[in-house]
């Protein structure tokens, strides 16, 4: 893809894109900005209802996985309740799911571990293929889709996937798919709630992270003390 096409393709992705906007080409005689004006593209705002990429069944499966990765306990709500599946759905519909930033030219050849991922499919495509393969495999073993298994059975499958010992057929590298799921569910749990997960900043309250705060000067003298800072999110900041 030509660079210019790359830039225009990210421009048409809509408001969810986070890659820098194309701005003024020739600049001289001062800086091209106005006080009080924000140039950076706004983030996707939380949308009421409706899935952006996943099917309802896929969404439910991701929710079931998030429930196992991050179970509800005295520390926090579950990953499912925190909105991790919603986060994953929105990410797959945007730059991340479309692999907008990754290099996708030339031959895809499997290399050494040091050479890193050589993945022809986008993350969105990998979810579609991977979740279907997961159901096909659990059907074979338990005669049920993943989301219909008991919690213990789901844990058993996920542990086997993590160890690379659960066959997802010829089109899916089990361990690589597992790592993608774990990465994205954690991102949904731990990132700013503006992306659809981390409901009520549940994870930040759990670990004691104050979130989108920009000034800690008043707290510097309280070294080594529990600070009990009420976290804030970009949603709060945008009010």
């Amino acid at each position: 893809m030509k660079r210019r096409e790359f830039l225009s393709s990210i421009a048409v992705l809509g408001v969810s894109t986070t890659i820098p906007l194309a701005k003024a080409q020739e600049v001289k005689g001062g800086q091209p900005w106005e006080p009080g004006k924000v140039d950076t593209r706004p983030l996707a705002q939380p949308r009421q209802g409706g899935l952006q990429y996943l099917t309802q069944h896929e969404f439910d499966t991701v929710g079931a996985i998030a429930e196992r990765f991050i179970p509800a306990d005295e520390l926090s709500v579950s990953g499912k309740e925190a909105g991790c599946a919603t986060f994953v759905d929105r990410q797959l519909a945007g730059d991340f799911g479309k692999a907008s930033s990754t290099y996708r030219l030339g031959r895809f050849v499997k290399g050494t571990a040091e050479q890193g991922p050589q993945e022809a499919q986008t993350p969105a495509e990998r979810y579609r293929v991977g979740l279907a393969a997961l159901d096909a495999s659990t059907q074979k073993q338990f005669s049920k889709n993943f989301a219909e298994l008991s919690g213990d059975q789901q844990d058993q499958v996920l542990h086997a996937m993590e160890a690379g010992k659960f066959d997802l057929g010829p089109n899916v590298e089990t361990k690589v798919f597992f790592e993608l799921l774990l990465q994205n569910v954690r991102e949904g749990f731990l990132s700013d709630p503006i992306y659809g997960g981390n409901k009520d900043m549940a994870s930040w309250k759990m670990i004691g992270f104050p979130g989108a705060r920009y000034d800690f000067r008043d707290l510097i003298p309280k070294k080594g003390q529990k600070l009990n800072i009420i976290p804030t999110s970009l949603i709060d900041n945008s009010l």
Binding site: L43, S101, E114, E187, D215, N237
Partner: protein, 590 residues
């Protein structure tokens, strides 16, 4: 048909620290300067306000400010017998993609290299003899000494508003500074940043071991500051959003905050944004260059003619541009001749992971360069006799801000990575887990180099840069030594669990945890057979071409490179203004 712009006195390729610093010097002297920058305009006030900046997923996890590999990446292999493959996703090679370049997203560690780092060959041979040099290691002096660079380091620190504490001022050792640093002619423009619990623990432990801890010079303004260009910086608020982020407070030293506001007021300066240079154009006589060819945002090809070309893109892009433009002889790893792509080095990272018990490290409070370090095991600050290697590392802790997503696997060994046990362990580790980072020297080796990939191309159809690299024996010995020293400090800090870490125990991968300080490939030096540039960063092959940046470094020190690239840029600017303009031609005769 190619579009041609009016001829400029100077065209600058890439407007990061190097490009903006030299543009400021040259335009102030009255030259007409055009900078061509591939990325878009970034504005401190409007692109990084607090309501946008404080977002780990966007800036750190998804690396939204960096050059996307989709636009340009590198191919990589560990040795010449392998097929190199493209690094398709974000990795250690973090190139800038905006006006300000990598200087917009850096952490802010604003170091000087030591006198030894600039003369490693002479000083090693003088102290230990040639037998100290591991076989195959490329060890050569830079052609410029620390004393020559000192005034330019000083100028850079004042422009950038660096916060720190001198350790050796006008020949006197100063308490609580770094006693191993090169002599300084003046104090840092701003006092050090405030310490945190983590840096206090490190300081006390290092002192208890008889070492010499000090606050790392930081590109975060510890107080309000007006720099020599008249640009105002605001005091750092210790938010921790530095590395991979912009800074909406005008607190982090960056070209955007410290140089560009002054530079843009000059009538004789123009920047062309979203314009990717594809070639440096050679004159018919083969002895000079005539300007650059670039592709604008609409895919139109343009020529920008100029009397002087300054190549100041990222280190890897500088090397690639020379290779694409066929300037200088490419390095051949078999015959070991040629210079472009030769003397490529990285860094040797090892250290320790620490887990405390019942601590409140509160690591979300901090700044990109808020660190305590010891240099007792760096460079040639200790006796290497019988050790089998040269160099070492600056060993530090950094209170850099917390990363809830990025640290989710920073847990004691054998901890589950999901489920209730993960939640419990992470909740504990978030306050109690941290690391000691040994940022090691690295010397280039004749087996490792940069060239053009024979197969993979960028989106314009030009070959990608191919990296052939692995750690060498000197790296491995040095890193092991530094790992052991880091573990000793970690234990003295009172951590419950201290685990040595060492990137060199396996083969190098651009995806493994290390520094992102990729160095060399178009190095400065004293001999055209072993360097691309002379001591003024002037091309041996085309006297009106100057190449700025870490590509000039024949070796890497145990420090971050930015202070040194800044000083070298100002050193080159002075050579152009005071020597080259009066008498255009090679500034060094061989």
């Amino acid at each position: 048909m190619k579009n041609v712009r009016p001829k400029a006195d100077v065209v600058i390729v890439g407007l990061g620290w190097c490009g903006s610093l030299i543009a400021e010097e040259l335009t102030r002297a009255g030259l007409n300067v055009v900078a061509v920058e591939r990325g878009p305009w970034f504005e401190t006030a409007t692109d990084f306000p607090p309501s946008i900046d404080t977002d780990e997923l966007r800036w750190d996890t998804r690396r939204s400010m960096l050059l996307p590999p989709a636009v340009e990446t590198t191919t990589f292999r560990n040795n010449i017998t392998q097929k190199a493959l493209p690094s398709r996703d974000w990795n250690l090679n973090e190139m800038g993609y905006n006006v300000g370049g990598s200087g917009t997203h850096w952490a802010g560690m604003a170091w000087r290299f030591t006198p030894f780092d600039l003369q490693p060959y002479t000083q090693t041979v003088a102290r230990y003899g040639k037998e100290q040099i591991v076989k195959g290691l490329i060890l050569q002096d830079w052609g410029v000494t620390y004393d020559e660079l000192e005034p330019f380091y000083d100028r850079f620190e004042k422009i950038a508003g660096v916060s720190g504490k001198a350790g050796k001022l006008n020949g006197q050792v100063v308490e609580d500074g770094n006693p191993f640093e090169g002599n300084r002619s003046s104090e840092y423009p701003l006092p050090p940043l405030e310490g945190m619990r983590l840096t206090d623990l490190f300081r006390d432990a290092a002192k208890s071991l008889g070492q010499h801890p000090f606050m790392v010079p930081a590109g975060q303004a510890s107080k309000a500051y007006v720099n020599p260009l008249g640009v105002r910086m605001g005091p750092c608020t210790y938010c921790g959003y530095c590395l991979y982020y912009g800074c909406g407070n005008f607190s982090k030293s960056s070209p955007n905050a410290c140089v560009i506001p002054a530079l843009m007021q000059r009538e004789n300066f123009t920047v062309l944004t979203e314009s990717a240079v594809t070639r440096i154009n050679k004159a018919e006589d083969g002895k000079t260059v005539t300007g650059v060819t670039y592709i604008d945002r609409n895919g139109q090809e343009w020529e920008q003619p100029a009397g002087i070309v300054v190549l100041s893109a990222f280190q890897m892009q500088n090397v690639r541009m020379l290779l694409l433009s066929k300037i200088g002889k490419p390095y051949d790893p078999v015959s070991k001749t040629g210079v472009v792509g030769r003397a490529y080095s990285f860094q040797t990272v090892s250290g320790a992971t620490l887990f405390f018990e019942d601590e409140y490290l509160n690591q979300f409070i901090g700044a990109g360069a808020l660190s305590q370090q010891v240099d007792d095991w760096n460079g040639d600050n200790f006796d290497h006799t019988g050790k089998g290697f040269i160099g070492g590392a600056g060993i530090l802790v950094v209170a850099r801000g917390a990363r809830p997503i990025g640290n989710a696997d920073a847990l004691p060994p054998n901890t589950p990575r999901w489920g209730k046990d993960w939640k419990k362990a992470y909740t504990h580790a978030f306050q109690n887990g941290t690391f000691i980072f040994g940022q090691g020297t690295s010397y280039s080796h004749e087996d490792y180099y940069l060239d053009l990939d024979p197969e993979y191309k960028d989106s314009n159809g030009n070959p990608l840069l191919r990296v052939t690299y692995d750690y060498n024996e000197n790296d491995r010995r040095s890193a092991k030594f530094v790992e052991d020293r880091s573990v000793e400090i970690g234990k003295a800090m009172g951590a419950k669990l201290v685990l040595g870490t060492n990137a060199t125990t396996t083969s190098y991968s651009p995806y493994s945890f290390a520094s992102d300080h990729t160095i060399g490939g178009a190095v400065m030096g004293e001999d055209p057979k072993t360097s691309v540039l002379n001591r003024y960063q002037q091309s041996w092959d085309a006297h009106n071409l100057f190449v700025l940046g870490a590509s000039s470094f024949p070796n890497n020190a145990g420090y971050n490179p930015t202070g040194t690239i800044g000083a070298l840029s100002l050193w080159t600017a002075k050579a152009i203004l005071e020597q080259y303009l009066k008498n255009p031609g090679p500034l060094v005769k061989v």
